[in-house]
Symmetry: D2
Subunit: 135 residues, 4 copies
């Protein structure tokens, strides 16, 4: 892993099936990359998205804001970074960037807002907040 | 819906995000089309894939054999057909074709073998078999 | 098609493969729905995303802002609406909503900003702008 | 990379968005894994699927036969292997297995048949055949 100055990042390579007619990664797939990096980040903090679901607690995304700066192409390698912040009492915000490797060209800048629900209702996920160091 | 002579068929249109660098529908997406047509077929017989899962019964695919005859492109409309058969005591076989519309050019021919599991074990899905008229 | 008061809308049904571990449509798939509705909208105006690409003109998304209000589940039907506006000289903005059918419960509200590039450079797509009635 | 006895293999990890309502990887996604491993294999032989397309030569899949033996779940790591053979004069066959890591439990066994087309017509891809050592 490249030294990025970011507290957490995951390295990926573009897979050809992720590219569309224009020969570049389809816009929706960046959301997949961002999601996978967040889930890996959560696992690194001892939090499993899939296990939480089995326990009835769902982490959900309530908002995404994504700026597309430069497209990725077939075989490009890239980094997805994750910074987490708390917003108010119940929202968690992920600031995420995607950089092409090795030149660190900015590809995507995203702000992803999440919350927790339990049995369909908003819920304060005390243990998740604690594991994320956001108390 | 076009009169096809097939007992069951679903009409689709290609979505651009399903096409890849070659400008045609990516091979894996045909499996999505086939799956969606099977699930719609099951619903037409009063069988919900999603509800069965909630009840602990999973219909699973154990084998697919797919011949790719002609590629679909952006905006193409097409039919996916479904014929169901029983094979031995526990397997269900779906014979499925995809035809481009309106010229009925053959696109894909598939044979999809399924089975049922309950709590991780092979299971004879008596009610499903009955609803499919395969008793 | 339901009478919605919106100038343009496309009706969809959730396909099971679009749902994830949580049993609801995966967040990235809403971006697919929004894209497909935009491309259908463009086709209704005589503009083909795929054909423009062949001519060297690419319509690209530079920004998406998506609010997730309520999740869609297996078999849900829904409407995706499209309103188009011009922003400054070179940007086109699509305001898009997703409503569950038949109760019109708000599912997603999105703002998608697009631009055109030709041979990799920003380009004023005069013909597209004219066909959209945004001159 | 684990020592497998296979001449070529690629290691992956399941991404949560690849799993469906049943909590396991959706069947179509295994085809994505198989494709990505084949394309990486081709790159290791100096053959780029994307570059060939730009030159007018498309490698296409004409048939897939996939046995699903055991499902992958969230966070599972796995190997996809690739063995290539020639079949007759114009077909190339890829024998591919997927094994869960680290226990090497068989997940999928696939046989993928490919061919080459140039300007829409069957074509003998002499250079590809040579680079694959299948002359």
């Amino acid at each position: 892993m490249q030294e990025t100055g970011y507290p957490y990042s995951v390295e990926f390579a573009v897979r050809d099936y992720e590219c569309d007619i224009q020969g570049v990664v389809n816009n929706a797939n960046y959301q997949h990359y961002l999601e996978h990096a967040r889930h890996e980040f959560l696992i690194s903090k001892g939090i499993s998205f899939a296990k939480l679901h089995e326990e009835g607690l769902d982490l959900i995304v309530t908002r995404v804001d994504i700026e597309y700066k430069y497209p990725l192409k077939s075989s490009d390698r890239f980094l997805v970074t994750v910074i987490v912040q708390r917003e108010g009492n119940i929202r968690i915000v992920f600031l995420q960037d995607i950089f092409r490797l090795p030149d660190m060209k900015p590809v995507v800048r995203a702000r992803v807002t999440g919350a927790a629900i339990k049995n369909g209702k908003p819920f304060y996920p005390a243990e998740v907040i604690k594991k994320l160091g956001l108390e």
